[in-house]
């Protein structure tokens, strides 16, 4: 490998020897093409006309009135596929095409990355396999069906709790046996180098746009930028636009699950300890000995025991702050945004909204918070219905 892929001491590429050539090939291709004029132009056209970029920055007035300060939503939920995931799958899918790969594989939790990969598989005519835990298949059946409609094969993964961690395990195993013709389209800013760097690159459009939109629409930068963190791709994407703006607080919100105190959660940065999983050194939810915990969250997309290495560094340096929102608060946030604005947020993104609601009464009324509304909540309607049935 040309680079170490480290963020402080975090990251790296802790993988079996058999995967090294594939990661080397990917690293070389990424650094070759990511500033290549033809590649950049093609991606820009697709981002605009296929995915629907730029996404709006929307002032959520009624939601703001409820919390008592000004909340703007970066509307990634309006992109094709219903989430920010398409930014990355278009970028990596195009990279796969330029590399001459004909097959795509991907892991998915909520199904958003799986769907975004299946869409790109259809767009580029590539054979696509999506690895998804059996628990997630059950709780995200709509997305599973959409992936199949796009022509992808959905491979159910039974190991562990049948969630994202297990899907990544099996995708890595499959890749090990098919490295020569298969491109692993990793969905989060986590995993082995060069994925955290690649995913951040393709998601950084969120932050660049949001910063400019703040200046154009509000006339100043926000006081805080808030995003949910599972592996951390939407958060790193929006944070990256504000790194140098030291007065802008960067806030990541993890899945508090049923209870952070009770141990039933996926709040890795809040409650984890440094370890090694899925090719990277990062904070990790694990027992004393190093066995990785099964995590729990109402949102499949944040239900992950590790976290992107750059977030670990941002936590240690204090540049970003990380908190957790528990399931009940998240459902409250889902309901409030839907009722006050007519926007159904994904349960993942609802974590960021829940943090904002926690700040009610604590911040001045002229405070400006930008929330990355990373995905829409259509896929979560049946889960919300189960937790909060509507009385007739």
């Amino acid at each position: 490998m040309k680079y170490k892929g480290r963020f402080g001491d975090y990251g790296g590429f802790y993988v079996p020897e058999v995967l090294i050539p594939a990661l080397e090939e990917l690293e070389e291709a990424f650094f070759h093409y990511h500033h290549d004029e033809q590649f950049v132009n093609e991606l820009e056209q697709l981002s605009k006309h296929y995915a629907g970029r730029p996404s709006p920055l929307y002032f959520a007035q009624r939601f703001s009135e409820h919390v008592g300060f000004r909340v703007y939503l970066k509307r990634e939920d309006l992109l094709h596929g219903g989430a920010h995931k398409v930014n990355n799958t278009l970028g990596q899918g195009l990279l796969a095409k330029y590399m001459g790969k004909t097959k795509l594989i991907a892991e998915t939790g909520a199904g958003q990355h799986g769907l975004a990969t299946a869409m790109i598989g259809a767009l580029f005519g590539m054979e696509t396999k999506i690895f998804m835990g059996v628990t997630d298949i059950e709780r995200q059946s709509v997305n599973v069906h959409k992936m199949k409609l796009c022509g992808a094969e959905v491979v159910g993964v039974e190991g562990g709790t049948g969630t994202l961690k297990d899907a990544i395990n099996d995708a890595l195993r499959y890749w090990t046996a098919h490295v020569t013709d298969t491109f692993y389209l990793f969905g989060s800013a986590a995993g082995p180098h060069p994925y955290p760097t690649i995913v951040k690159h393709f998601q950084s459009c969120i932050g660049a746009e949001a910063r400019q939109q703040c200046l154009d629409q509000i006339g100043r930068l926000p006081d805080m930028v808030v995003a949910c963190v599972g592996g951390g791709s939407n958060a790193i994407g929006i944070f990256s636009g504000f790194y140098d703006d030291k007065d802008v607080r960067l806030i990541g919100v993890e899945a508090g699950g049923r209870s952070v105190a009770g141990g039933k959660h996926a709040a890795t940065l809040v409650a984890g300890r440094v370890g090694i999983l899925h090719g990277a050194k990062s904070y990790l939810l694990q027992d004393k000995e190093g066995q990785v915990y099964d995590t729990e969250s109402v949102s499949a997309g944040l239900d992950y025991a590790a976290v992107g290495p750059e977030h670990c560094m941002l936590k240690d340096t204090g540049r970003a702050e990380y908190f957790a929102a528990e399931d009940e608060e998240v459902l409250d946030a889902f309901e409030l945004l839907t009722r006050s604005e007519g926007i159904l947020p994904a349960l993942e993104s609802s974590h960021a909204l829940a943090y904002v609601m926690q700040q009610k009464g604590k911040l001045d009324s002229d405070t400006i918070a930008v929330v990355n509304l990373s995905g829409r909540g259509d896929k979560d309607v049946s889960i919300v219905e189960k937790h909060r049935p509507i009385e007739q």
Binding site: Y14, V15, G290
Partner: protein, 264 residues
Amino acid sequence: MKTYKQVFSELDRAALIPFFVVGDPDFDTSLEIIKGAIDAGADILELGIPFSDPIADGPTIQKADIRAIKSGMNVARALEFIKQIKNYKDIPIGLLMYYNLIYQYGTGKFFEDFHKAGVNSVLVADLSIDDGDEIIGSAASAGLDTVFMVTPNTAPDRIKLIVSKTTGFIYTVSVLGVTGSRDNLSGTIEDLIGDLKKLTSVPVCVGFGISKPEHAAAVARAGADGVIIGSKIVGLIEKNLNNKTEMIVEISAFLTQVMDAISR
């Protein structure tokens, strides 16, 4: 303590190296199985301490890891387990590990404690030669040999680097993929063994997918110094979970067949 060097120099055939997950299906049965394997002629043992997320392993060994963890196996008990094997016979032992368990224990202390218990080497499945420096120094000061993997897609320059940092044996992976029984051996493995033998005097052992006596015989004929068999015998544990006597008999019988095949 018997060394790899002693074993390889004493043998005029390939070494028989069975792999087990310690504590599969439980502490006592696992110990009996391994004693049986030693009696059947195992020259070296390759042992795994179970991990929750074994990404280099196929379904057979994943299930073994789960059985072992459920039965209460952990790093501290693995130390005790290895001491009991060494009390039975002074046989060289290589550990096959995932990095997080070592990292949490403390790398230096892990190597020291397990060397004291009777381990000769520690291969970390998810640590490549690029990060070899994280373990090589402390392995050497603990008195351990190093073992690294070479796979069919490892580039020639990289093979040279790996070979130069290996003191125990080269763990040569016979296929692109994870562990697991396979009907046929990869066609390129014999060439890879030949290439490695030209490059180094460090012993070359072959594993992943070797599931029949004739596979073992073929890699031995191609010049391998050792044959590592994992999933096939771990599968025999799974198959006979309700009959422990039969389990031990079948594993020993299979290893005896392999021994015959590589001794011819």
